[in-house]
């Protein structure tokens, strides 16, 4: 995908802490009213595409996509939603142990994921299926973790996409350390921009409370590393609304640490793309860390184990359905006649076939050989463990020869 023509505003750039502090000032000045987390008032985020599918301009950010690129974004979002629906169905049928749906967050994930350059490294939570898709990772990969056959099967070096992290926030420190390494390697701020690299760390609104995440802000600012902290504020950490995690809008947290923070309409794939691209560019150019709060909504349950009716009302969900990320880009495509009905049918069909393929392959996923639990514990192995493995194998061989157990 060609790059959007994103202008990075001075309000998220700035190499010096002083500039960042000023940014904090100005950004805070822009929304002196209620915290957007309160929900009663539209937050003042960057938006380029309204829920009705209108393209709107923003003083500092813009995109300039070809028709094909616009259609590509729609296709990405539609397919990852369709795959997500299939995964939920597979869980309901007992084929997955659990599933963490991305429903509602497609724009945040595709917008940011498509803004990544091949050389950039991404650190996900457990919900970034859309980002995986952008990295070209086979959609079956994350299902291994949720089915319980492995811990996620992709090659994190080859795909430039690290493993899922279930322990909330832990990956933000890994991302920061990785970005320190990028800087050490002289791979940011260099003259040859194609050799520069950036790092993106995904996390949720709930994660902002964890010590680790705040430590990563300290580290990133002190070492001025090329990282973008990408927070998908989907309004909930399981049952707890974002007000339980923060009283100030989340993007303002960055200012207190001395780097830029910006809020974007996370259901607007165009704005998310533009803002993320600008932040990644700044990181690659050696301008240091920044934070993006993608203001979005978890339209489904936290996971398939969750029952959101216990803690939120239907009308809230309905209100957010009006702001659906896919609906609005479809409206744009229709209004601007970038795509017609046959195109949409075609993508639906393509998505269905991806889903069918996924299903078939999940059903065929073999259980691992139990003895493999002893493998890959230590790069250099362990004699103690080897002995356990041998006992384990002998014990199970005993059953096979004896027939059944007691």
């Amino acid at each position: 995908m060609a790059k959007g023509n994103a202008a990075r505003s001075r309000s998220t750039a700035g190499t010096k802490p002083a500039a960042s502090a000023r940014t904090g000032t100005r950004a805070a000045g822009k929304s002196p009213g209620k915290s957007p987390g309160n929900g009663s008032r539209e937050p003042e985020f960057v938006q380029l595409l309204t829920p009705d599918g209108e393209r709107v301009e923003h003083a500092e950010y813009s995109v300039d996509f070809t028709d094909e690129e616009y259609r590509g974004l729609y296709r990405d979002m539609l397919i990852v939603r369709r795959l997500d629906t299939e995964a939920t169905a597979l869980q309901r049928q007992g084929e997955l142990g659990i599933w963490a749906s991305l429903l509602g967050q497609e724009a945040a994930q595709i917008g940011s994921g498509r803004a990544l350059r091949p050389q950039d490294m991404a650190f996900p939570t457990y919900r970034e299926h859309g980002v995986l898709w952008c990295r070209g990772i086979d959609p079956i990969m994350p299902l291994g973790l949720f089915r319980g056959v492995d811990f996620g099967g992709w090659d994190s070096r080859a795909t430039k996409m690290q493993m899922y992290t279930v322990v909330i926030g832990a990956q933000t420190l890994h991302a920061t350390g990785y970005a320190m390494g990028v800087a050490k390697d002289g791979k940011c701020g260099g003259d040859d921009d194609s050799a520069n690299e950036a790092v993106i760390a995904y996390f949720g609104d709930g994660a902002t409370s964890e010590g680790d995440v705040n430590e990563s802000f300290v580290w990133a600012s002190v070492f001025n590393v090329p990282i973008v902290f990408f927070c998908q504020n989907n309004q909930y950490a399981i049952s707890e609304p974002v007000e339980r995690q923060a009283r100030a809008p989340i993007y303002q947290r960055a200012h207190g640490y001395g780097f830029p923070g910006i809020q974007v309409d996370g259901n607007d794939v165009l704005a998310t793309y533009a803002v993320t691209e600008a932040a990644l560019d700044a990181a690659r150019h050696g301008e240091g860390p920044s934070m993006i709060e993608a203001y979005t909504y978890r339209m489904g349950a936290h996971t398939t184990s969750d029952d959101p009716t216990r803690y939120r009302i239907a009308s809230e969900v309905e209100a957010w359905q009006q702001k659906d990320p896919i609906l609005r880009i479809r409206r744009l495509l229709e209004k601007q006649q970038i795509a017609d009905a046959s195109y949409f049918d075609e993508i639906d069909a393509e998505a269905d076939s991806h889903a069918a393929d996924l299903r078939a392959r999940v059903l065929a996923l073999p259980d691992p050989d139990p003895a493999t639990m002893f493998d890959n514990v230590y790069p250099n192995g362990s004699p103690v463990l080897l002995a356990q493995r041998e006992q384990f194998v002998a014990y199970h061989a005993g059953f096979e020869s004896k027939g059944s157990g007691h």
Binding site: A237, R310, P368, H406
Partner: protein, 329 residues
């Protein structure tokens, strides 16, 4: 009055009663309010006791335990829920360096009556970090006590005893057994029920002693029934209940009679609580042991993917195999 209920419900009822008995008892944790906790152990408690006593906290475990310590310093009796075993580690520093040591550091002036509830162990088909058994870390930490319940009756009473105790207590709940039912004698008085830090013989036997706690007690009992049926061997099953301090007198007595001991738990073998039990029994019952103590446990590997967790978890067959092995010496 005896009622039949699940372990989950028994914990919920025990918490409710503790809150009724003492207005200083407050519950803290992630999603314990409207949601009632991911396992519904605090179901309806926020509704009935209010947001001031059942507190949905920010998502940070060190914060949960750290602020609980502050609340205890103010005279409250916090009961913290750690959502899953694998998420207690961000709180480890507050637990080990602060909670465990405060009473000693204050020269006995400041007790911290805090209970940390942890649903623990595997067997529910969960993803990584949701099936850990961290009890050995806590048992190795002076100043903490560690208990685990195995039946609805114990769940109901032990949680109340733990809350009533002035000691800091790690309360490990056998999550895979939450749905198992049993009789709870609810009309007893808290002062008179079986003591919190005592182990208990659940089934008498003469041939081999089997010690377990938490989710493995069911496995031990099933193994005893199977052994009886298979070859008439009588296993004596002891529910440890208190992982720290250990109450091994009943175990010593039993081993002096049976001469054989098998200890069962889910946690990885090396440095586990079965090592401590073995070391003590090997000393105390040096002349009685007919065979080395056998340990049936998880392996020294990270908890495996769910589809093979049954091969990791001790089961009836592995316990009986260990019993058999004690007879080969």
């Amino acid at each position: 009055m005896a009622e039949t209920m699940t372990i989950g419900k028994a914990l919920n009822s025990g918490l409710r009663r503790a809150m009724e008995d003492d207005p200083k008892v407050v519950l803290m944790g992630e999603d314990i309010g409207k949601l009632g906790g991911v396992f519904r152990i605090t179901d309806r408690l926020q509704k009935d006791f209010g947001e001031d006593r059942v507190i949905d906290t920010p998502l940070a475990e060190s914060g949960i335990v750290g602020t609980a310590i502050g609340l205890a310093l103010r005279g409250y009796r916090p009961v913290c829920e750690i959502q899953f075993d694998g998420f207690v580690f961000p709180a480890f520093d507050q637990i080990v360096t602060q909670l465990a040591k405060m009473y000693t550091r204050s020269g006995g002036r400041v007790a911290l009556p805090i209970v940390i509830r942890i649903p623990f162990g595997g067997g529910i088909g969960a993803v990584e970090h949701h099936s850990e058994s961290p009890e050995a870390y806590f048992a190795h930490t002076p100043g903490l006590k560690v208990v685990s319940c195995a039946s609805p009756h114990d769940a109901y009473w032990m949680i109340q005893q733990a809350i009533r105790s002035d000691d800091p207590i790690i309360f490990q709940e056998p999550k895979r057994r939450y749905w198992e039912k049993g009789e709870v004698e609810t009309s007893a008085s808290l002062d008179q029920v079986f003591p919190l830090h005592a182990s208990r013989v659940l089934r008498e036997g003469t041939d081999c002693t089997v010690v377990a706690y938490g989710p493995m007690v069911r496995v031990a009992l099933d193994a005893a029934a199977a052994a009886d049926e298979d070859n008439g061997r009588q296993l004596e099953v002891i529910d440890l209940r208190s992982v720290s301090p250990l109450d091994l007198a009943p175990v010593y007595q039993s081993v002096r009679r049976t001469g054989r001991l098998v200890v069962v738990h889910e946690a990885p073998l090396t440095g586990s609580i079965s090592a401590e039990i073995t070391a003590r029994v090997a000393e105390e019952c040096f002349y009685s042991l007919e065979a080395p103590v056998m340990r049936v446990s998880g392996y020294d590997v990270p908890y495996p993917p769910a589809r093979i967790e049954e091969e990791y978890l001790p089961d009836l067959d592995r316990v009986l195999d260990a019993v058999d092995r004690t007879f080969t010496f």
